[in-house]
Symmetry: C2
């Protein structure tokens, strides 16, 4: 019973935190990060000022929490990935993931901002961001290695480096997407990169078509 | 005569500006951007406070000027590129360029910071940065197209997109280089990406070795 209650209370706190984050992301997307006030977020989330700052002391904390949510999504998606049946699994996973992030308005802009913030080693976000980033690189590397063990991907390549390249393409193109006012075909360019990468890493050396992964999920 | 004098005065101002930038970059590299004061930069450059702020009103202006210098270097290198004799010219250019940036301590960190700054649309750096960025994408796209016209590169590909991918890899890996405390092989990973890209864009479809471009230039 006690355990249930604690879990319940934890869930309520977590749900409120998630609600605040939803409200913050919506406001950041609409008004821009710098133009959004903590007062407005509190109001839209149905909280008092102290109610909000109990969860997120400053707007920077919200920005970091957005990054954390993004990293969690990445991790969950990596864990939920269907078994790789032909070596294209990790690439399909990258495309699905990019599509998912892309469909959340404002998330890309916020991620670019938080990367910027975290790149400054004196920033509070730095250490957390570094750790989370390495987790994502490690997860993607691991999924490549699983496909190597299954005999689908070449065993003589540096998959940590390839994972970093895939993530760099996604990060770098997101920066360009923000800088060009969303005028580049972000998902198309990410997909092109992965489709060109495929023959170089597949044991079969064959061409692949990743367009199916860009259709919205049915769930 | 008058023209000579004006040119002379312009050169002196320009030389002083470049000197200040050298001092600023060295300080940013050693102390970090946020820990470097305008007073320290003025002192090291042999200027009074007002002497410095005449050229750069704030530290943010210095940060933007660092980005401008980087973009100028990119443009100059693009213009100086030897004629492409086999279709690998634009790729060799990217590797040389990355090597050049990599050899300047602190420039990578500063570029990551300025990207961050510029990604915020309310920032003073935004418009300038957007324009300079597009110049670099256009220059690289143009050099791919020249190689297409020479018959070396496939004519059926989206070279604007490929240029954006190459720049994204460099930008994204630079972010990771900063986040990992320079523990990744930045130039090796950039080179690997371009060597995998080559067979996909060359009419000949052949493999290429870009390692020669990583040797320091003799000049």
């Amino acid at each position: 019973m006690r355990e249930d209650r604690e879990r319940g209370s934890y869930s309520v706190g977590r749900a409120r935190r998630e609600k605040i984050l939803d409200v913050a992301i919506a406001n950041f997307a609409e008004l821009g990060y710098s133009q959004t006030s903590m007062a407005k977020i509190a109001q839209d989330a149905g909280l008092t000022g102290p109610g909000l700052t109990h969860h997120f002391p400053t707007k920077k904390h919200l920005l970091v929490a957005v990054a954390e949510r993004r990293f969690s999504m990445l991790r969950e998606l990596a864990e939920e990935a269907p078994e790789d049946v032909d070596g294209t699994g990790p690439l399909r996973q990258m495309v699905r993931l990019s599509g998912l992030l892309h469909r959340q308005p404002g998330m890309v802009e916020l991620f670019v901002l938080v990367s910027a913030e975290a790149a400054d080693p004196t920033s509070a976000a730095h250490a957390l961001y570094v750790a989370r980033y390495e987790t994502v690189v490690a997860a993607l590397t691991e999924s490549f290695r699983t496909s190597v063990e299954a005999g689908f991907l070449r065993a003589d390549l540096d998959y940590d480096g390839i994972a970093r390249e895939c993530i760099a393409v996604a990060d770098g193109l997101q920066l360009q997407w923000v800088l060009t006012g969303r005028r580049i075909d972000l998902l198309g360019l990410i997909r092109n990169h992965l489709e060109r990468l495929a023959p170089a890493i597949l044991v079969s050396g064959r061409a692949v078509d990743l367009s199916d992964e860009l259709r919205p999920a049915r769930s």
